[in-house]
């Protein structure tokens, strides 16, 4: 018998990366406040990674961390750091992350209106890259299983009873869904299932599932979208 109570697993999460050319506290503060004012709810308690590759200065990490929490942001780590910066960041309790490809590519600085003269910029962008899609042209028959790893799944035909379609992303079915559809299989609760005719045996998003008996009702045999709201599956019109 196994008495393991903990489990370590790798997983990917979208994180916002903040790139700054000027890391002095006052500049970061004013620029961030400006940025946050545009969408305060969106960034509320958002986990942020600080990109240091554009910065020559040696920042005061604990002060920056404090500044972030004042602004209702959670600084989780740094990326693009020199070895000296890495050490300082780790001392301040920050994770040192590998810089994603997209973050490097989009260093196009976007000078903000507040301080264009100083050539400073605040750019946020999400890693990783947008999800890929797997497209299936034909009907998925009973006994067949299709898994779109790290991708959306698009089925042009029908998913027969006893067939399973699984995706880490969203699932789109242009025919009838009679089998099982499992979206957000890697745990992403923002994923959805769209189908033209809902007669599913089971629908599941990020592990929350409904059997066909729970699906009986207004949307049975009709176009529908399944999504997750407060850990509860919700059915809605397709259009």
């Amino acid at each position: 018998m196994s008495d393991q109570s903990l489990e370590l697993k790798g997983s990917l999460f979208p994180l916002s990366v903040l790139s700054c050319t000027d890391l002095s506290l006052a500049v970061v503060k004013s620029q961030l406040e400006h940025k946050l004012a545009q969408a305060p709810a969106f960034f509320y308690q958002a986990p942020i990674v600080l990109n240091l590759s554009d910065s020559q200065q040696t920042p005061d990490f604990s002060a920056i961390k404090q500044l972030f929490s004042q602004l209702n942001l959670v600084l989780v780590g740094v990326c693009g750091a020199s070895s000296e910066h890495k050490q300082l960041a780790q001392q301040a309790g920050l994770a040192v992350l590998q810089l994603g490809k997209t973050a490097k590519a989009s260093q196009a600085a976007e000078p903000t209106a507040t301080a264009p003269s100083r050539q400073t910029s605040v750019v946020t962008n999400n890693v990783p890259v947008p999800m890929d899609s797997k497209i299936v042209e034909q009907t998925v028959r009973s006994g067949q299983q299709i898994y779109a790893k790290g991708a959306d799944l698009v089925i042009k035909g029908t998913v027969g009873a006893g067939a399973e379609v699984i995706a880490d992303g969203n699932i789109h079915i242009y025919g009838t869904l009679r089998g099982k559809a499992i979206a957000g299989a890697a745990g992403d609760s923002s994923k959805r299932i769209f189908c033209y005719n809902l007669q599913a045996e089971l629908v599941s998003i990020a592990g929350n599932y409904w059997l066909s008996e729970s699906l009986q009702g207004n949307f049975w045999g009709k176009p529908a979208c399944v999504r997750l709201q407060d850990d509860q599956l919700v059915l809605a019109d397709l259009v």
């Binding site: 034909q138 009907t139 998925v140 028959r141 009973s142 006994g143 067949q144 035909g157 029908t158 027969g160 009873a161 006893g162 067939a163 025919g175 009838t176 009679r178």
Partner: protein
């Protein structure tokens, strides 16, 4: 080159062998040289339905193992020219079939015949896989009830993934739906799936609808393929099916409840 047609279903007892016998006989009646192969090794039935069970000397497995040649093994039908039967072995099991052996026999038959009909065993194991592997076309025999429809769906999945055509990336197998044991009265009462229901679920082309008929049982018991009983509804429906298989456009019959005439209503019928 012969056209290889597999008659399959997944589920047992839906009428694969009856349909193989009827369609094979119908193709021969139309003048095409046809052989029907019984792939149901160990549960030999086709010879009974065809009424040639007393004439089986060698069988399919003997040919594969090189213990007999095709000429010795093929049974020529006594009623119809151009019709031959390759019987299954009753004493062996399905593992006696090898892909290489089946391919060799099919290639040899292909030189002489226009049509090779493979009567598949039930299930999705090696015997059924062997019967469908080399097929160009498939007749999927389905009864209008949910378990048969689901098994047919499963077999259709196999046809599109496990066949030679799928593995070699050739044109996919042409799939036909043959609905058997159809009873319009019970469909009207809602006790049976309708043609439209089954077509919608399986989404393949319909090639025939065979009505539930006493003639089928009579034919099986007497070893006469039902298609030879030209007065029966089932026999006529199989004739239509063969025409459609040969590319003709024939309207579907026996789909609705027959209206009883006044006399029939008075005197019963």
């Amino acid at each position: 080159m012969a056209k290889i047609i597999v008659v399959t279903s997944g589920k047992g007892g839906v009428g694969k062998t009856t349909s193989s016998a009827a369609i094979g006989t119908g193709l021969a009646l139309k003048g095409h040289k046809t052989v029907i192969i019984d792939f149901d090794i160990g549960l030999r039935n086709l010879d009974l339905i065809m009424g040639c069970e007393r004439r089986v000397v060698y069988d399919f497995v003997n040919v594969i193992n090189g213990e007999a040649n095709l000429k010795q093994t093929l049974i020529k039908d006594k009623r119809i020219d151009n019709l031959f039967i390759l019987p299954a072995s009753q004493t062996r099991d399905k593992d006696a079939l090898t892909k290489e052996g089946v391919e060799r026999v099919l290639n040899e038959l292909s030189k002489d015949f226009d049509f090779i009909l493979c009567d598949s065993p039930a299930g999705i194991e090696s015997g059924a896989m062997m019967a469908l592997y080399f097929a160009d076309e498939a007749v999927v025999v389905t009864n209008p009830e949910v378990s048969s429809v689901r098994d047919s769906d499963r077999i259709l999945g196999m046809l599109s993934s496990k066949s030679r055509r799928a593995e070699q990336g050739l044109d996919s197998i042409k799939e036909h739906l043959l609905l058997t044991r159809y009873n319009p009265e019970r469909v009207e009462k809602g006790e049976m799936l309708s043609v439209e229901d089954v077509k919608e679920i399986l989404s393949i082309d319909l090639i025939g609808v065979i009505p539930e008929s006493q003639a089928v049982l009579n034919a099986s018991n007497s070893g006469q393929p039902v298609i030879l009983d030209k007065d029966s509804d089932a026999g006529q429906a199989y004739l239509d099916t063969v025409d459609r298989l040969l590319g003709e456009n024939v309207p579907f019959r026996f789909l609705t409840v027959e209206k009883k005439g006044l006399l029939k209503r008075i005197f019963g019928g």
